[in-house]
Symmetry: C2
């Protein structure tokens, strides 16, 4: 027999870096090691329920983007007993950034995906799997907006893509492509602060995306 757990890969983007939230176990078989937050599945909840629950318990955050990633089942992935885990990944907006790392007694901290500590069990593989998945997904579905404030500038959006894909993009071409998709709504509001020309603020238009999608439109970065 075995037990089943849920682990949630929590992504955020800050300072033009893609980051993941890790927790350090204070005791147990992986004492002192870092890993992605998770818990064992309860008898009366689905895997998705469990993922939502652990996110809420550990971070106080509700209502963020969440999707199933993969189920990992190697016989030796967990020490001592057999544990199969289903990994989810979630996307956190900047305004929720601090809540994620601060709301729990466990030591939680954001790490750049380029500078990860040593990880427990197979969590290193899970994170790498998740990064690859995110890189693919962000180019084929408009989920990147879940990592930005509701209102954002085109440059912020571009920097988000650059951070996740780890590439540089041409500014005018990125603007042109993004705006032509008609998924962004002009907020009629300018960015404040900054010693330069104020940029237009936009927000992602879910309703229009839904409509275009029904007409066969496919998002493609």
């Amino acid at each position: 027999m075995h037990r089943h757990s849920v682990d949630s890969l929590i992504f955020g983007c800050r300072n033009e870096r893609l980051e993941v939230c890790l927790i350090q176990h204070a005791d147990g078989p992986a004492e002192g090691q870092w890993g992605i937050p998770g818990d064992f599945l309860y008898d009366n909840e689905s895997l998705e329920d469990a993922a939502v629950r652990t996110l809420r318990t550990r971070t106080g955050i509700d209502d963020i983007y969440l999707d199933q990633l993969h189920t990992f089942s190697a016989l030796d992935r967990y020490p001592g007993e057999r544990v199969i885990t289903t990994a989810y990944y979630s996307l956190v907006r900047p305004q929720d950034y601090e809540a994620v790392a601060g709301a729990h007694e466990l030591d939680a901290q954001w790490f750049s995906v380029k500078e990860l500590p040593e990880l427990m069990y197979d969590h290193g593989s899970i994170i790498q799997y998740g990064i690859q998945h995110l890189r693919h997904k962000i180019r084929h579905a408009p989920i990147g907006f879940n990592l930005l404030p509701d209102k954002f500038t085109l440059l912020e959006l571009q920097k988000l893509y650059e951070a996740i894909l780890d590439i540089e993009l041409n500014k005018p071409n990125f603007r042109r492509k993004m705006l032509r998709m008609d998924l962004l709504v002009d907020c009629q509001e300018k960015q404040t602060g900054g010693a330069h020309r104020a940029a237009q603020l936009y927000r992602f238009d879910h309703a229009t995306y839904q409509k275009l999608q029904d007409q066969g439109f496919v998002f493609e970065l």
Copy 2:
């Protein structure tokens, strides 16, 4: 507590139709109903091992394309007890077509995805989820070749895409796009039979794909 099963969605393409292989349960809680083949997970195997095992046991086929799809865990998805299932999907070449539906005592049969019988448990949802996944995947990775003989004509390849995506494609444009990717090798051999000009046979070049992929090439239909 719960048990964990593995279910395999087996796709094939014949007569320009996308098909799935279903089995009819002779007894048990779903007697007489159709479903995708599966089995409970053994203690000493990974989920992928179990998927390979059930495929081999039920069809005698080894070495076919296999990939994890999704893990389904709704509390009421299985009658009487809680069973979480991880669904895999596999792609079968025409030469293995008969072996799949004939090698087992259970009643196995191919069905067009457009004319499915009533299905047990949540297998209807699993199949729909799998079709959507396949449609997306086939456009972004060269996996369609796993549904064709080793040697095939460009029209056969086109008809495969048309069957899976359920759309019509322009012939010259499809040829041009496919050939320009440099993933096909001319077999220096012509199709036989047919009251018309014989078509050139091609095969998919795994090695070249690997090389191109390392250089950052992304397959895109």
